[in-house]
């Protein structure tokens, strides 16, 4: 039986003054795409950042891609995690191509892969456009170009469908299917269930830092 992509047991996360995640238990198997729903401020994004190994739990045991959270093990698995957050991780005064080249250079891969990824996401005609002059939808596509360029084993999307046209939404579906199809997993955080219902295989609801159960 393959190892789970994610295994959280009683995980808690503290931010100054309060626990923002409490007793979170969650398991994510290869091939799954999980929807995480909840109101603003419920802890969805915090959960996503825990799964991205960017937040250290103060209690419980968490394992992501075989690495135990809060230990040095996470550094080796971080390059296998793809995160598309609320805000684009793009330098505003660089062009789309320069942003992707920067990521390629840091990752130690050929820039041609960045160029090909931009074509794949439909940005072939805008590679030399600076991010400040791009629409939100184009910025989102550029984020997905990064995912296409560096295919992750764990894909984490935080309200990633916001601002996407129907064609780009298909792109997101394709990216998720590619990740889950080769044994990875995806987590989609949203407060709009209808927008992502077709993209997920199951769902949980977060309320006040707790996973309150499988979402209906």
């Amino acid at each position: 039986m393959p190892s789970p992509i994610v295994s959280l047991e009683g995980v808690a996360v503290r931010r100054p003054g309060a626990l923002v995640l409490r007793q979170v238990t969650l398991r994510l198997e290869p091939g799954e795409s999980l929807g995480v729903f909840g109101a603003n401020g419920s802890g969805k994004t915090t959960l996503l950042r825990v799964l991205a190994t960017l937040l250290r739990p103060v209690a419980g045991v968490g394992i992501v891609l075989g690495a135990r959270l809060g230990t040095g093990e996470v550094e080796s698995v971080r390059p296998r995690i793809g995160l598309v957050g609320h805000e684009p991780a793009l330098a505003p005064h660089l062009t789309l191509a320069e942003n992707l080249h920067l990521v390629a250079d840091l990752a130690g891969i050929a820039r041609e892969r960045a160029d090909a990824a931009l074509v794949d996401v439909g940005l072939a005609g805008a590679v030399d456009r600076r991010v400040v002059h791009c629409s939100n939808g184009m910025r989102r596509r550029a984020e997905f170009a990064r995912i296409v360029m560096l295919p992750p084993d764990l894909l984490l999307l935080d309200e990633a469908h916001v601002g996407l046209d129907p064609e780009a939404a298909l792109l997101v579906a394709h990216v998720i299917a590619e990740v889950t199809g080769r044994g990875g997993a995806a987590v989609l955080v949203s407060h709009e269930r209808e927008r992502v219902a077709a993209l997920i295989s199951r769902a949980v609801r977060v309320h006040d830092g707790l996973i309150t159960g499988e979402a209906a």
């Binding site: 550094e75 995160l83 609320h86 991780a89 660089l94 320069e98 920067l102």
Partner: protein
């Protein structure tokens, strides 16, 4: 790590060249600050000669704060997360940001220093030493700013707290640079002040590299 520093440094400088905030906003504003003083004190040539170098260093520290803060602001939370996931060592990010700040501040210092020479006409024998003193001071201010931005960023108060952290911590740099310049004017020894600048730079570099990861994870 060296490759990451080189790549990030190039990105910082390209971003600044495109944004033009240092060249088009901060440098002109620094020049305005230098122009205002002669207007306020009048055409008192001996006085201007006396205060010129000190004003130059004060302007460099105060506007250097703005430069380094602008540098740190270009790396938002999303990009920081991305770099972490790409396996970029926080120490490499510190080094790249500090180097970019040093280069930008040195450009700022050359422009502001040239205008200081014209406006205040200070007498500085052995001014060639400034070619060593200025980059050392700029590196120190840049590292203080980068460190302060990391501390303030961790507290979620980058915009308001960073300048308050930078200016007091820059006092040894300001003191050493100003005293070295005064030493040149007086024909006195300046090596101890240059040594102090170098020691402060080394201490700041070590502090930045060693605390980069704990600060990020805090």
């Amino acid at each position: 790590m060296i490759r990451h520093i080189r790549v990030l440094l190039a990105a910082h400088l390209r971003d600044e060249r495109r944004a033009g905030e240092v060249g088009l906003v901060i440098i002109p504003f620094g020049l305005v600050a230098l122009l205002v003083i002669p207007m306020a004190v009048g055409i008192d040539t001996p006085l201007l000669d006396r205060i010129g170098p000190g004003l130059f260093w004060a302007v460099l520290v105060l506007f250097g704060t703005v430069v380094t803060q602008r540098q740190s602001a270009t790396e938002g939370d999303a990009r920081r997360d991305l770099f972490t996931l790409l396996g970029v060592d926080p120490a490499a990010r510190f080094a790249a940001a500090a180097l970019a700040g040093t280069i930008l501040l040195t450009v700022f210092a050359v422009v502001v220093g040239s205008v200081t020479m014209v406006l205040y006409d200070p007498t500085i024998p052995g001014a060639a030493w400034l070619a060593l003193i200025v980059p050392l001071a700029c590196a120190g201010i840049a590292m203080v700013g980068t460190l302060a931005a990391a501390v303030a960023g961790g507290l979620g108060t980058r915009s308001s707290l960073a300048p308050l952290l930078v200016v007091p911590i820059s006092v040894p740099i300001l003191l050493a640079a100003a005293q070295a310049t005064e030493g040149l004017r007086a024909g006195a020894g300046i090596l101890r002040w240059i040594l102090l600048l170098a020691v402060v730079d080394v201490v700041l570099a070590l502090a930045g590299v060693l605390t980069a990861r704990p600060l990020e994870e805090s």
